[in-house]
Symmetry: C2
Subunit: 210 residues, 2 copies
Amino acid sequence: MSFENLVKDRHSAVNFIEDVEMTEDDFKNIFELTKTAPSAFNLQFAEYLVITDKEKKERVKELSYNQYKIHTASAVILVMGNKNSLEMSEVEKIYGPMKMLKMMDELEYEMVVETINRYSEGLKANPSEFDVELARNVGLHAMLFMLSAKHYGFDTCPMHVHNVEEVRKEFNIPQHIEPIMMITIGKSVDKVRARGYRKPVGEFVRFNGY
Amino acid sequence: MSFENLVKDRHSAVNFIEDVEMTEDDFKNIFELTKTAPSAFNLQFAEYLVITDKEKKERVKELSYNQYKIHTASAVILVMGNKNSLEMSEVEKIYGPMKMLKMMDELEYEMVVETINRYSEGLKANPSEFDVELARNVGLHAMLFMLSAKHYGFDTCPMHVHNVEEVRKEFNIPQHIEPIMMITIGKSVDKVRARGYRKPVGEFVRFNGY
Protein backbone atom coordinates (compact mmCIF):
# COMPACT_ATOMS: atom_id res chain seq x y z
CA MET A 1 0.00 0.00 0.00
CA SER A 2 1.25 3.51 -0.73
CA PHE A 3 2.26 5.61 2.24
CA GLU A 4 -0.53 8.07 1.52
CA ASN A 5 -3.26 5.40 1.52
CA LEU A 6 -1.81 3.79 4.59
CA VAL A 7 -1.86 7.08 6.50
CA LYS A 8 -5.41 7.81 5.34
CA ASP A 9 -6.61 4.28 6.20
CA ARG A 10 -5.14 4.26 9.70
CA HIS A 11 -7.80 5.02 12.29
CA SER A 12 -7.82 4.34 15.98
CA ALA A 13 -9.85 1.15 16.28
CA VAL A 14 -13.00 1.42 18.38
CA ASN A 15 -13.34 -2.33 18.74
CA PHE A 16 -11.60 -5.49 17.53
CA ILE A 17 -12.74 -8.80 16.06
CA GLU A 18 -12.47 -11.31 18.92
CA ASP A 19 -10.15 -14.32 18.81
CA VAL A 20 -7.86 -13.05 16.07
CA GLU A 21 -4.47 -14.42 17.10
CA MET A 22 -1.21 -12.66 16.42
CA THR A 23 2.03 -14.63 16.45
CA GLU A 24 5.43 -13.51 17.71
CA ASP A 25 6.46 -13.38 14.05
CA ASP A 26 3.65 -10.91 13.29
CA PHE A 27 5.09 -8.69 15.98
CA LYS A 28 8.67 -9.17 14.90
CA ASN A 29 7.84 -7.99 11.37
CA ILE A 30 6.24 -4.87 12.80
CA PHE A 31 9.12 -4.19 15.16
CA GLU A 32 11.75 -4.61 12.43
CA LEU A 33 10.27 -1.50 10.80
CA THR A 34 9.55 0.26 14.08
CA LYS A 35 13.12 0.01 15.28
CA THR A 36 14.27 2.50 12.63
CA ALA A 37 12.55 5.30 14.61
CA PRO A 38 14.87 8.15 15.59
CA SER A 39 15.67 8.92 19.23
CA ALA A 40 17.71 11.51 21.08
CA PHE A 41 21.39 10.64 20.49
CA ASN A 42 20.09 7.32 19.10
CA LEU A 43 19.72 6.09 22.68
CA GLN A 44 16.61 4.05 21.81
CA PHE A 45 14.62 4.60 25.00
CA ALA A 46 11.51 2.71 23.84
CA GLU A 47 10.70 -0.73 25.27
CA TYR A 48 7.60 -2.82 24.57
CA LEU A 49 5.78 -5.41 26.62
CA VAL A 50 3.40 -7.31 24.34
CA ILE A 51 0.62 -9.08 26.21
CA THR A 52 -1.08 -11.77 24.15
CA ASP A 53 -1.85 -14.15 27.02
CA LYS A 54 -5.63 -14.03 27.50
CA GLU A 55 -5.67 -14.09 31.29
CA LYS A 56 -2.97 -11.48 31.57
CA LYS A 57 -4.79 -9.34 29.03
CA GLU A 58 -7.96 -9.54 31.11
CA ARG A 59 -5.93 -8.36 34.09
CA VAL A 60 -4.84 -5.26 32.13
CA LYS A 61 -8.49 -4.70 31.22
CA GLU A 62 -9.49 -4.77 34.89
CA LEU A 63 -6.76 -2.26 35.69
CA SER A 64 -7.92 -0.05 32.78
CA TYR A 65 -11.51 0.73 33.78
CA ASN A 66 -12.60 -2.48 32.04
CA GLN A 67 -12.29 -1.01 28.57
CA TYR A 68 -13.87 -3.65 26.37
CA LYS A 69 -11.53 -3.28 23.42
CA ILE A 70 -8.73 -4.77 25.54
CA HIS A 71 -10.80 -7.96 25.76
CA THR A 72 -11.32 -8.28 22.00
CA ALA A 73 -7.86 -7.03 20.93
CA SER A 74 -5.33 -9.66 19.86
CA ALA A 75 -2.86 -8.03 22.24
CA VAL A 76 -2.43 -5.07 24.50
CA ILE A 77 1.03 -3.54 24.43
CA LEU A 78 2.74 -1.43 27.04
CA VAL A 79 5.00 1.14 25.45
CA MET A 80 7.60 2.22 27.94
CA GLY A 81 10.73 4.32 28.37
CA ASN A 82 13.95 2.75 29.65
CA LYS A 83 15.69 5.11 32.06
CA ASN A 84 18.85 3.02 31.93
CA SER A 85 19.34 4.19 28.33
CA LEU A 86 21.33 7.06 29.84
CA GLU A 87 23.85 4.75 31.52
CA MET A 88 27.28 4.71 29.91
CA SER A 89 27.18 0.90 29.62
CA GLU A 90 24.11 1.29 27.35
CA VAL A 91 25.65 4.17 25.42
CA GLU A 92 28.72 2.02 24.70
CA LYS A 93 26.52 -0.81 23.42
CA ILE A 94 25.21 1.55 20.74
CA TYR A 95 28.32 3.57 19.89
CA GLY A 96 30.93 0.83 20.45
CA PRO A 97 29.90 -1.17 17.36
CA MET A 98 29.77 2.03 15.27
CA LYS A 99 33.36 2.83 16.22
CA MET A 100 34.43 -0.75 15.56
CA LEU A 101 32.76 -0.74 12.13
CA LYS A 102 34.57 2.57 11.39
CA MET A 103 31.23 4.38 11.05
CA MET A 104 32.88 6.93 13.32
CA ASP A 105 36.52 7.57 14.20
CA GLU A 106 38.04 7.76 17.69
CA LEU A 107 37.68 11.55 17.91
CA GLU A 108 33.99 11.53 16.87
CA TYR A 109 33.40 8.76 19.38
CA GLU A 110 34.98 10.75 22.21
CA MET A 111 32.97 13.84 21.26
CA VAL A 112 29.64 12.06 21.13
CA VAL A 113 30.26 10.28 24.44
CA GLU A 114 31.16 13.59 26.08
CA THR A 115 28.02 15.26 24.68
CA ILE A 116 25.82 12.39 25.84
CA ASN A 117 27.43 12.54 29.28
CA ARG A 118 26.47 16.20 29.67
CA TYR A 119 22.96 15.54 28.37
CA SER A 120 22.58 12.54 30.65
CA GLU A 121 23.72 14.45 33.75
CA GLY A 122 21.26 17.23 32.90
CA LEU A 123 18.33 14.82 32.70
CA LYS A 124 19.31 12.89 35.83
CA ALA A 125 19.38 16.18 37.74
CA ASN A 126 15.90 17.04 36.47
CA PRO A 127 13.54 14.04 36.76
CA SER A 128 10.50 15.81 35.33
CA GLU A 129 12.49 16.83 32.23
CA PHE A 130 13.64 13.20 31.98
CA ASP A 131 9.96 12.07 32.04
CA VAL A 132 9.20 14.49 29.21
CA GLU A 133 12.20 13.19 27.24
CA LEU A 134 10.97 9.60 27.61
CA ALA A 135 7.43 10.54 26.55
CA ARG A 136 8.68 12.47 23.50
CA ASN A 137 10.92 9.61 22.36
CA VAL A 138 8.31 6.94 23.06
CA GLY A 139 5.71 8.99 21.18
CA LEU A 140 7.88 9.08 18.05
CA HIS A 141 8.47 5.33 18.31
CA ALA A 142 4.83 4.44 18.98
CA MET A 143 3.55 6.30 15.93
CA LEU A 144 5.91 4.32 13.72
CA PHE A 145 4.72 1.15 15.48
CA MET A 146 1.07 1.94 14.67
CA LEU A 147 1.80 2.71 11.01
CA SER A 148 3.95 -0.41 10.69
CA ALA A 149 1.15 -2.47 12.23
CA LYS A 150 -1.26 -1.05 9.64
CA HIS A 151 1.23 -1.93 6.90
CA TYR A 152 1.00 -5.57 8.02
CA GLY A 153 -2.79 -5.45 8.18
CA PHE A 154 -3.36 -4.77 11.86
CA ASP A 155 -5.35 -1.97 13.45
CA THR A 156 -4.38 -0.20 16.65
CA CYS A 157 -5.64 2.17 19.27
CA PRO A 158 -3.34 4.31 21.44
CA MET A 159 -4.48 4.47 25.08
CA HIS A 160 -3.46 5.84 28.44
CA VAL A 161 -1.96 3.54 31.06
CA HIS A 162 -4.05 3.55 34.24
CA ASN A 163 -3.04 2.25 37.67
CA VAL A 164 0.60 2.24 36.66
CA GLU A 165 1.94 0.79 39.91
CA GLU A 166 -0.48 -2.18 39.83
CA VAL A 167 0.42 -2.79 36.19
CA ARG A 168 4.10 -2.65 37.13
CA LYS A 169 3.59 -5.20 39.89
CA GLU A 170 1.47 -7.53 37.75
CA PHE A 171 4.17 -7.82 35.08
CA ASN A 172 7.29 -7.38 37.22
CA ILE A 173 8.24 -4.27 35.30
CA PRO A 174 11.54 -3.01 36.75
CA GLN A 175 11.68 0.46 38.29
CA HIS A 176 13.92 1.84 35.54
CA ILE A 177 11.24 1.06 32.92
CA GLU A 178 8.53 3.74 32.82
CA PRO A 179 5.15 2.84 31.28
CA ILE A 180 4.20 5.75 28.98
CA MET A 181 1.27 4.55 26.90
CA MET A 182 -0.64 1.47 25.85
CA ILE A 183 -1.64 0.24 22.40
CA THR A 184 -4.37 -2.29 21.65
CA ILE A 185 -3.86 -4.17 18.39
CA GLY A 186 -5.86 -6.60 16.29
CA LYS A 187 -8.33 -6.50 13.40
CA SER A 188 -10.82 -3.65 13.62
CA VAL A 189 -14.53 -4.49 13.52
CA ASP A 190 -15.20 -1.39 11.41
CA LYS A 191 -13.55 -1.64 8.04
CA VAL A 192 -14.31 1.93 7.01
CA ARG A 193 -15.43 4.73 9.26
CA ALA A 194 -15.43 8.49 9.26
CA ARG A 195 -12.39 9.96 10.95
CA GLY A 196 -12.90 12.21 13.96
CA TYR A 197 -12.91 15.89 13.05
CA ARG A 198 -9.46 17.35 12.46
CA LYS A 199 -8.61 21.05 12.67
CA PRO A 200 -7.68 22.55 9.31
CA VAL A 201 -3.92 22.98 8.78
CA GLY A 202 -4.18 26.76 9.11
CA GLU A 203 -5.33 26.37 12.71
CA PHE A 204 -2.27 24.49 13.99
CA VAL A 205 0.51 25.68 11.68
CA ARG A 206 2.03 29.15 11.64
CA PHE A 207 4.83 30.55 9.51
CA ASN A 208 7.69 32.67 10.87
CA GLY A 209 6.06 33.89 14.09
CA TYR A 210 2.95 34.62 16.10
CA MET B 1 7.01 4.85 -2.65
CA SER B 2 5.91 1.87 -0.57
CA PHE B 3 5.61 2.36 3.15
CA GLU B 4 8.39 -0.13 3.79
CA ASN B 5 10.87 1.64 1.50
CA LEU B 6 9.88 5.00 2.88
CA VAL B 7 10.54 3.84 6.46
CA LYS B 8 13.85 2.29 5.47
CA ASP B 9 14.94 5.36 3.49
CA ARG B 10 14.12 7.82 6.26
CA HIS B 11 17.25 8.83 8.15
CA SER B 12 17.90 11.81 10.34
CA ALA B 13 19.72 14.23 8.04
CA VAL B 14 23.20 15.21 9.16
CA ASN B 15 23.34 18.19 6.83
CA PHE B 16 21.19 19.82 4.16
CA ILE B 17 21.81 21.21 0.68
CA GLU B 18 21.91 24.98 1.09
CA ASP B 19 19.39 27.30 -0.58
CA VAL B 20 16.72 24.70 -1.29
CA GLU B 21 13.51 26.65 -0.85
CA MET B 22 10.31 25.13 0.42
CA THR B 23 7.00 26.84 -0.27
CA GLU B 24 3.98 27.08 2.02
CA ASP B 25 2.29 24.60 -0.34
CA ASP B 26 5.09 22.08 0.25
CA PHE B 27 4.32 22.35 3.95
CA LYS B 28 0.56 22.22 3.50
CA ASN B 29 0.83 18.93 1.60
CA ILE B 30 2.89 17.47 4.42
CA PHE B 31 0.53 18.76 7.11
CA GLU B 32 -2.57 17.42 5.33
CA LEU B 33 -1.20 13.93 5.98
CA THR B 34 0.23 14.78 9.40
CA LYS B 35 -3.08 16.02 10.76
CA THR B 36 -4.50 12.49 10.73
CA ALA B 37 -2.27 11.62 13.71
CA PRO B 38 -4.15 10.34 16.75
CA SER B 39 -4.21 12.28 20.03
CA ALA B 40 -5.70 11.77 23.48
CA PHE B 41 -9.48 12.27 23.12
CA ASN B 42 -8.69 13.70 19.67
CA LEU B 43 -7.76 16.97 21.34
CA GLN B 44 -5.01 17.68 18.78
CA PHE B 45 -2.45 19.27 21.08
CA ALA B 46 0.25 19.67 18.41
CA GLU B 47 1.07 23.10 16.98
CA TYR B 48 3.83 23.96 14.52
CA LEU B 49 5.82 27.11 13.93
CA VAL B 50 7.60 26.83 10.57
CA ILE B 51 10.54 29.18 10.22
CA THR B 52 11.65 29.66 6.63
CA ASP B 53 12.74 33.29 6.95
CA LYS B 54 16.54 33.25 6.69
CA GLU B 55 17.27 35.86 9.34
CA LYS B 56 14.88 34.29 11.80
CA LYS B 57 16.34 30.87 11.08
CA GLU B 58 19.82 32.22 11.88
CA ARG B 59 18.47 33.48 15.17
CA VAL B 60 17.26 29.96 16.04
CA LYS B 61 20.69 28.67 15.09
CA GLU B 62 22.35 31.12 17.49
CA LEU B 63 20.00 29.99 20.26
CA SER B 64 20.75 26.32 19.45
CA TYR B 65 24.51 26.17 20.05
CA ASN B 66 25.03 27.28 16.45
CA GLN B 67 24.20 23.89 14.99
CA TYR B 68 25.18 24.24 11.35
CA LYS B 69 22.34 22.17 9.89
CA ILE B 70 19.89 24.89 10.93
CA HIS B 71 21.75 27.24 8.58
CA THR B 72 21.54 24.90 5.56
CA ALA B 73 18.03 23.52 6.25
CA SER B 74 15.16 24.92 4.18
CA ALA B 75 13.31 25.50 7.43
CA VAL B 76 13.51 24.86 11.12
CA ILE B 77 10.22 23.93 12.73
CA LEU B 78 9.18 24.26 16.34
CA VAL B 79 6.84 21.45 17.33
CA MET B 80 4.82 22.51 20.32
CA GLY B 81 1.97 21.47 22.60
CA ASN B 82 -1.06 23.71 23.05
CA LYS B 83 -2.15 23.70 26.69
CA ASN B 84 -5.45 25.39 25.78
CA SER B 85 -6.49 22.15 24.07
CA LEU B 86 -7.95 21.18 27.45
CA GLU B 87 -10.29 24.19 27.55
CA MET B 88 -13.94 23.38 26.99
CA SER B 89 -14.18 25.98 24.20
CA GLU B 90 -11.57 23.95 22.28
CA VAL B 91 -13.22 20.64 23.12
CA GLU B 92 -16.51 21.97 21.72
CA LYS B 93 -14.78 23.04 18.51
CA ILE B 94 -13.83 19.40 17.92
CA TYR B 95 -16.89 17.56 19.22
CA GLY B 96 -19.55 20.13 18.28
CA PRO B 97 -19.24 19.47 14.51
CA MET B 98 -19.28 15.70 15.14
CA LYS B 99 -22.57 16.01 17.02
CA MET B 100 -23.98 18.28 14.33
CA LEU B 101 -22.96 15.84 11.57
CA LYS B 102 -24.65 13.04 13.58
CA MET B 103 -21.31 11.24 13.94
CA MET B 104 -22.33 11.00 17.60
CA ASP B 105 -25.69 11.39 19.33
CA GLU B 106 -26.52 13.70 22.24
CA LEU B 107 -25.85 11.02 24.87
CA GLU B 108 -22.45 10.08 23.44
CA TYR B 109 -21.60 13.76 23.27
CA GLU B 110 -22.48 14.31 26.95
CA MET B 111 -20.47 11.25 27.96
CA VAL B 112 -17.36 12.23 26.05
CA VAL B 113 -17.48 15.81 27.36
CA GLU B 114 -17.82 14.53 30.93
CA THR B 115 -14.89 12.14 30.48
CA ILE B 116 -12.73 14.88 28.96
CA ASN B 117 -13.67 17.19 31.83
CA ARG B 118 -12.38 14.70 34.40
CA TYR B 119 -9.23 14.06 32.36
CA SER B 120 -8.67 17.79 31.93
CA GLU B 121 -9.07 18.52 35.64
CA GLY B 122 -6.63 15.73 36.45
CA LEU B 123 -3.96 17.16 34.14
CA LYS B 124 -4.47 20.74 35.28
CA ALA B 125 -3.96 19.61 38.87
CA ASN B 126 -0.72 17.87 37.91
CA PRO B 127 1.42 20.12 35.67
CA SER B 128 4.27 17.64 35.28
CA GLU B 129 1.83 14.94 34.10
CA PHE B 130 0.43 17.53 31.68
CA ASP B 131 3.93 18.15 30.31
CA VAL B 132 4.34 14.40 29.76
CA GLU B 133 0.95 14.26 28.01
CA LEU B 134 1.97 17.07 25.65
CA ALA B 135 5.30 15.40 24.88
CA ARG B 136 3.67 12.02 24.21
CA ASN B 137 1.06 13.53 21.87
CA VAL B 138 3.55 15.78 20.11
CA GLY B 139 5.91 12.81 19.67
CA LEU B 140 3.22 10.80 17.86
CA HIS B 141 2.42 13.79 15.64
CA ALA B 142 6.05 14.64 14.87
CA MET B 143 6.88 11.12 13.69
CA LEU B 144 4.02 11.29 11.21
CA PHE B 145 5.29 14.71 10.12
CA MET B 146 8.78 13.33 9.41
CA LEU B 147 7.44 10.36 7.43
CA SER B 148 5.06 12.60 5.49
CA ALA B 149 7.94 14.94 4.70
CA LYS B 150 9.94 12.00 3.35
CA HIS B 151 6.93 10.99 1.25
CA TYR B 152 7.09 14.42 -0.42
CA GLY B 153 10.85 14.16 -0.92
CA PHE B 154 12.14 16.09 2.07
CA ASP B 155 14.58 14.95 4.74
CA THR B 156 14.32 15.86 8.40
CA CYS B 157 16.23 15.78 11.64
CA PRO B 158 14.50 15.82 15.05
CA MET B 159 16.30 18.06 17.57
CA HIS B 160 16.01 19.38 21.10
CA VAL B 161 14.86 22.94 21.70
CA HIS B 162 17.46 24.93 23.61
CA ASN B 163 17.02 28.26 25.39
CA VAL B 164 13.27 27.84 25.32
CA GLU B 165 12.46 31.20 26.93
CA GLU B 166 14.59 33.16 24.45
CA VAL B 167 13.00 31.24 21.58
CA ARG B 168 9.58 32.02 23.02
CA LYS B 169 10.41 35.72 23.19
CA GLU B 170 11.93 35.84 19.72
CA PHE B 171 8.77 34.46 18.07
CA ASN B 172 6.12 35.81 20.49
CA ILE B 173 5.06 32.28 21.37
CA PRO B 174 2.19 32.57 23.86
CA GLN B 175 2.59 31.03 27.33
CA HIS B 176 0.00 28.33 26.68
CA ILE B 177 2.07 26.97 23.79
CA GLU B 178 4.90 24.73 25.02
CA PRO B 179 7.88 24.11 22.68
CA ILE B 180 8.58 20.36 22.82
CA MET B 181 10.98 19.64 19.98
CA MET B 182 12.45 21.06 16.82
CA ILE B 183 12.73 19.59 13.32
CA THR B 184 15.09 20.76 10.60
CA ILE B 185 13.86 19.99 7.09
CA GLY B 186 15.26 20.23 3.57
CA LYS B 187 17.17 18.05 1.13
CA SER B 188 19.86 15.92 2.73
CA VAL B 189 23.42 16.19 1.41
CA ASP B 190 23.92 12.44 1.86
CA LYS B 191 21.68 10.47 -0.46
CA VAL B 192 22.49 7.10 1.07
CA ARG B 193 24.17 6.46 4.38
CA ALA B 194 24.43 3.68 6.91
CA ARG B 195 21.87 3.93 9.65
CA GLY B 196 23.07 4.29 13.22
CA TYR B 197 23.19 0.96 15.04
CA ARG B 198 19.79 -0.26 16.23
CA LYS B 199 19.26 -2.80 19.04
CA PRO B 200 17.84 -6.10 17.78
CA VAL B 201 14.09 -6.49 18.37
CA GLY B 202 14.67 -9.09 21.11
CA GLU B 203 16.43 -6.47 23.22
CA PHE B 204 13.53 -4.00 23.44
CA VAL B 205 10.47 -6.24 23.07
CA ARG B 206 9.21 -8.72 25.65
CA PHE B 207 6.17 -10.98 25.58
CA ASN B 208 3.77 -11.43 28.50
CA GLY B 209 6.04 -10.29 31.34
CA TYR B 210 9.53 -9.68 32.68
